[in-house]
Symmetry: C4
Subunit: 124 residues, 4 copies
Amino acid sequence: MKNAIGRRRWAIAEGYLPGWSNGPEPELASHETCCILNATDETAHVTLWIYYEDREPVGPYEVEVAARRTKHLRFNELDDPEKIAKDTPYASVIESDVPIVVQHTRLDSRQAENALMTTMAFPA
Amino acid sequence: MKNAIGRRRWAIAEGYLPGWSNGPEPELASHETCCILNATDETAHVTLWIYYEDREPVGPYEVEVAARRTKHLRFNELDDPEKIAKDTPYASVIESDVPIVVQHTRLDSRQAENALMTTMAFPA
Amino acid sequence: MKNAIGRRRWAIAEGYLPGWSNGPEPELASHETCCILNATDETAHVTLWIYYEDREPVGPYEVEVAARRTKHLRFNELDDPEKIAKDTPYASVIESDVPIVVQHTRLDSRQAENALMTTMAFPA
Amino acid sequence: MKNAIGRRRWAIAEGYLPGWSNGPEPELASHETCCILNATDETAHVTLWIYYEDREPVGPYEVEVAARRTKHLRFNELDDPEKIAKDTPYASVIESDVPIVVQHTRLDSRQAENALMTTMAFPA
């Protein structure tokens, strides 16, 4: 196990919470996930800012990821300072006090069958 | 919130607007999106060039993204200097006067159920 | 053919083995793959560590990839020191003694139609 | 339009040509695409090597991409020195004498509805 894998700042330009779902909850509810890996030996204090098309960024959303742990954070569940609106394009910037790795995934189950997409976030 | 996240030039080698759709418009119309995040405090003046397999590149397409905003630009909607033809392979180069982050997504609803794909563009 | 393509350490923040499948086995069984390319002229001794949300990392999982070969390793099949639980978020760190290239893919066939996603791992 | 966007060597660790299809040909035939962008003012002489799990790499496959053009190369159509077998894991290394950008996409239509995935190749 190695420490210091990753970067302290990441960006995701794509963000969109589909407005409806089609499938058993919670596994197949439409959602977007911000997967964070903290492979260091210290707790990661992670801050997210959500950027919109037509208003000022909202944040900070604060999340902790313990040492040697991953956290698969659903954007749908962020609610402080406010929930992210559905069917609204957004982007996000993720910052941490220790190096982390960030990957973005969407499961879209608006139609009868689900669709998936993923990408590493951009190490900014 | 930090400034200067990203790069000034990006490339996307894959581009293809599916020729038909299957699902409620506009959410589930087949489309490709160029998601742009401008986390700086200045307006981004963004220029796109579209590259084809059998003719010279077309552009510049010009787009502005305000300070601290994201823009989820649908390639389908670009029309100046001309529309991008459907069912035609293309690629794109995106340039900006301030650092931005660019991500590429396709929703393909040609069959009854939609399919999704995404990737960060290449920071060129 | 060139040697020394890639890096010695990679990370994948997203990991999740869907709990069920829907389609002919083994091609359409739900699975996640760690695709490894060893383009060097030496055997790659590869070590994987699996990170969880609520307990210490598990590993090392050890895999060899021969010189000038690829290996499409299914996470489902790792079993020493233990199997990866289904329906459990995880992340992974992949290390090698020679440079390799690592890409992550999921095929999800929990619903009637399969969904796919892929990304290059993060070169850590 | 700028020159010199990209790199001269790229790698894709994932490769797999699904053994069957379900949908109108050729748009919805299962396929993998190597999307190449040559934004320079010179012809790109591109060479591909295909790596397998259980035998020596096969190549070179040679392709030209004209100046200021993209080429969406279907792996299915490569046939010199030989076709790539279906249902067989492979990986690829792509080299060019001028900088190019390479992106990998798969459309899988083995089931009734198609699935899509894409990622930038690894700039090696």
